[in-house]
C-alpha cells in the first residue's frame, strides 16, 4: 500500500475554516499562560500549575461521568463548570498553609497531582464511550475546539490580561517583597489571591479546550525561556507571552503537517524554544 501523501499548505488553507478556531484558542491560551507563567516560575510554583491542570482535567472527567450516569443533573453537568470548580478548589488547597496538615508544600502538591491524575484515569475507565475525549483532555489530542470553548478562552484571557496589565506593579511588588508591600499599605493577601485565582481560572478554562499537558507546558516553558534571555522583567513578560503564542500556533501547524497529536506538538515546540534559549545563554558565557 503506498504511503499516504503528506498534507500540503493548499489543504491547510482549504480547511482554514476548521483550523482557525483551535489555532486562535491555542494562541490566546499560549499568550496568557505564557504571561502568567512568569509568576509561576519565579515564585517556584511550577508543579502547582501541574497539579491545577490535572485537577481541572479530573473536573472535566467527572462532568462526563455525571452526564452519562447522573442524567438527573441535566445541564448542570457542564465540563467548564467541572474544570473550574476542581481547578479553583485545588488552587485554594495548594495555597493554604500545609504545615497545619503536617505536610511540606511539595508533598501537598504531589498528593494533589497524583490523586487528580489517577482518579481521572479511573473515571475514564467507567466512561468507555467517552474515553477518547478523556485522553484528549489530559494529553491534548483534540484538533477542533467548540465555539463555546473558544469564546470562553477569549473572554477569560482578555479579562485576565486586562487585570494583570492594570495591576502589574502591585502584583510584582507583592510577589517578590510581600512584607515591604504590606508595610506600604498594599492589600497583599487580596493581590495574592487575585494572582492565584487568575492562574487557576485560566488553567481550568484552557485545560477544557486544549488538554492538561499543553496547558502545563505553556504555563512553565515560555517563562523559563524568557527568563533565560530577558534582562528586564517587563521584557520577560512580553517575551514569555509571545513565545507561548508562537508555541501554540507552530505546534498546531507541526501537528497538521507531521500528523502528530496537537497537544504533544505544542508542548515539544515550547520545550525546543526553552532548550534553544538555554544553549544560547550557555554560549554567551
Amino acid at each position: 500500500m503506498p504511503p499516504e501523501a503528506a498534507p500540503t499548505w493548499a489543504e491547510f488553507v482549504t480547511g482554514l475554516d476548521l483550523f482557525l478556531d483551535p489555532m486562535l484558542c491555542g494562541a490566546v491560551a499560549g499568550l496568557v499562560l505564557g504571561f502568567l507563567g512568569v509568576y509561576v516560575v519565579l515564585r517556584r510554583m511550577v508543579f502547582v500549575s501541574a497539579a491545577i491542570t490535572h485537577s481541572a482535567g479530573l473536573g472535566v472527567a467527572l462532568t462526563f461521568y455525571a452526564q452519562i450516569h447522573l442524567s438527573w443533573l441535566g445541564s448542570l453537568a457542564n465540563p467548564f463548570v467541572g474544570a473550574f470548580l476542581l481547578g479553583i478548589g485545588s488552587t485554594l488547597l495548594l495555597v493554604a498553609n500545609p504545615a497545619r496538615l503536617g505536610l511540606t508544600r511539595e508533598s501537598l502538591i504531589g498528593l494533589v497531582f497524583i490523586f487528580a491524575s489517577g482518579t481521572a484515569l479511573l473515571v475514564a475507565d467507567r466512561i468507555s464511550q467517552e474515553s477518547h475525549d478523556i485522553h484528549s483532555i489530559i494529553f491534548g489530542t483534540a484538533v477542533l475546539v467548540s465555539k463555546g470553548d473558544l469564546y470562553t478562552t477569549l473572554g477569560t484571557g482578555s479579562l485576565t490580561m486586562l487585570l494583570h496589565l492594570w495591576l502589574r506593579r502591585a502584583l510584582i511588588f507583592t510577589s517578590f517583597d510581600a512584607d515591604g508591600a504590606r508595610v506600604q499599605g498594599l492589600p497583599t493577601r487580596a493581590l495574592d489571591g487575585l494572582l492565584l485565582a487568575s492562574i487557576g481560572l485560566m488553567v481550568s478554562v484552557t485545560t477544557r479546550a486544549l488538554g492538561a499537558m499543553p496547558v502545563f507546558a505553556f504555563s512553565v516553558l515560555p517563562a523559563m525561556t524568557a527568563l533565560s534571555l530577558g534582562r528586564r522583567l517587563s521584557a520577560v513578560f512580553t517575551l514569555a507571552a509571545m513565545l507561548g503564542l508562537l508555541s501554540a500556533v507552530l505546534g498546531y501547524l507541526a501537528a497538521f503537517f507531521l500528523r502528530f497529536p496537537v497537544g504533544a506538538c505544542q508542548t515539544v515546540v515550547a520545550a525546543l524554544f526553552a532548550a534553544l534559549a538555554m544553549a544560547l545563554r550557555a554560549l554567551r558565557r
Binding site: 519565579l42 517578590f176 512584607d179 515591604g180
Partner: protein
C-alpha cells in the same frame, strides 16, 4: 511610635516580657541581640505584619507612613528587576497601585531618590548584579522614594566589609538627619551601629529581658554587660566617646570655615 507594655509573640503566646519604648522623628535606634532573641518578632509587630499579644502600640498620627527594607538576601536574585524598578516600588503606597501608569513627576522622583543615595548610575543595572554596598544604596533610594516617617532596616550592613559598612551607616544617618525619619536598624554589628544610634534596644529571650534607652544607659545595664562582657562594653563606650569627639571637631572645623 510608642510601645506601652507591648507584648509580642505568636498564637497568643508571649515571647518576651512587656516592652516600653518610644522612638521620635530624627532618631536612630539600634535593635540588637543574638539570633532568636525576639528582635524580628518585635519589629514585625511594630510594622503591623504580626498581631500583638498584649499591650499598646501607638503612633503620633493614624496611618503613619512606614517602610521596611528586608535583608538583601531575602530578595530573590533570579527576579530580573533593574535597580530603577526596585526604587519605583517605593511609590506604591496605599491605593497608588490602582493607577495603571506612573506620571512624569513620579518618574523624576525615582531618579531623584537614586541620585540622593549616590546610585544614579546604577538605575539601569540588574539589582542582582550589584555589589552589597550598591544594593543597599538602591534599597535606601526605595525607602526615600516611599517618603516614610518610620523605617525599619533589617541587617543593612550584613556581608559588607568595614569600609562599606561605615559608608552605609553614614548614609542611613544622613537620612535620619536630612529627612527627619525615625529609623530602627536591626543589626548584629553592635560596635559600628552603636556609634550612630541615639537609642539602643537590647533583646535577651533567654533571661526574658528587654533593655531600652540611650546607648550609655543600656551599656551600663547588668544584663547587657553579662551578655557582651565587661571588656566589650568598655570598648563600646570608649568608641562612642571617640566618635562624639571626632564629630565635635569636624563640626568646629566646618564652623570655622563657614565663618
Amino acid at each position: 511610635m510608642t510601645c506601652r507594655d507591648l507584648v509580642v509573640g505568636y498564637g497568643g503566646k508571649p515571647l518576651l516580657p512587656p516592652i516600653n519604648f518610644t522612638i521620635f522623628h530624627h532618631q536612630l535606634c539600634a535593635v540588637v541581640g543574638r539570633n532568636g532573641a525576639g528582635k524580628t518578632t518585635w519589629f514585625r509587630t511594630l510594622l503591623g505584619l504580626l498581631p500583638s499579644v498584649g499591650g499598646q502600640l501607638s503612633t503620633c498620627r493614624p496611618d503613619l507612613p512606614m517602610a521596611y527594607i528586608p535583608q538583601r538576601s531575602q530578595l530573590d536574585p533570579i527576579v530580573p528587576l533593574r535597580a530603577r524598578d526596585l526604587v519605583a516600588q517605593g511609590l506604591e503606597r496605599g491605593r497608588h497601585y490602582l493607577r495603571p501608569l506612573l506620571s512624569r513627576d513620579e518618574q523624576q522622583r525615582v531618579s531623584w531618590a537614586l541620585q540622593e543615595m549616590g546610585a544614579a548610575d546604577l538605575g539601569r543595572m540588574q539589582f542582582a548584579q550589584l555589589s552589597e554596598g550598591q544594593k543597599q544604596r538602591v534599597l535606601m533610594a526605595r525607602l526615600l522614594c516611599s517618603q516614610p516617617e518610620l523605617a525599619v532596616l533589617d541587617e543593612p550592613t550584613a556581608a559588607m566589609d568595614a569600609v562599606a559598612e561605615r559608608e552605609t551607616l553614614q548614609l542611613i544617618d544622613n537620612l535620619r538627619r536630612d529627612y527627619g525619619l525615625a529609623i530602627l536598624i536591626v543589626s548584629h554589628h553592635l560596635p559600628v551601629v552603636s556609634l550612630f544610634a541615639d537609642q539602643v534596644i537590647f533583646f535577651d529571650r533567654a533571661s526574658q529581658n528587654v533593655v531600652a534607652g540611650q546607648p550609655e544607659t543600656v551599656f551600663d545595664d547588668p544584663v547587657f554587660r553579662a551578655h557582651y562582657g565587661d571588656e566589650a562594653t568598655q570598648a563600646l563606650r570608649a568608641s562612642r566617646e571617640r566618635e562624639k569627639t571626632q564629630r565635635v571637631e569636624v563640626h568646629e572645623q566646618d564652623h570655622d570655615h563657614a565663618s
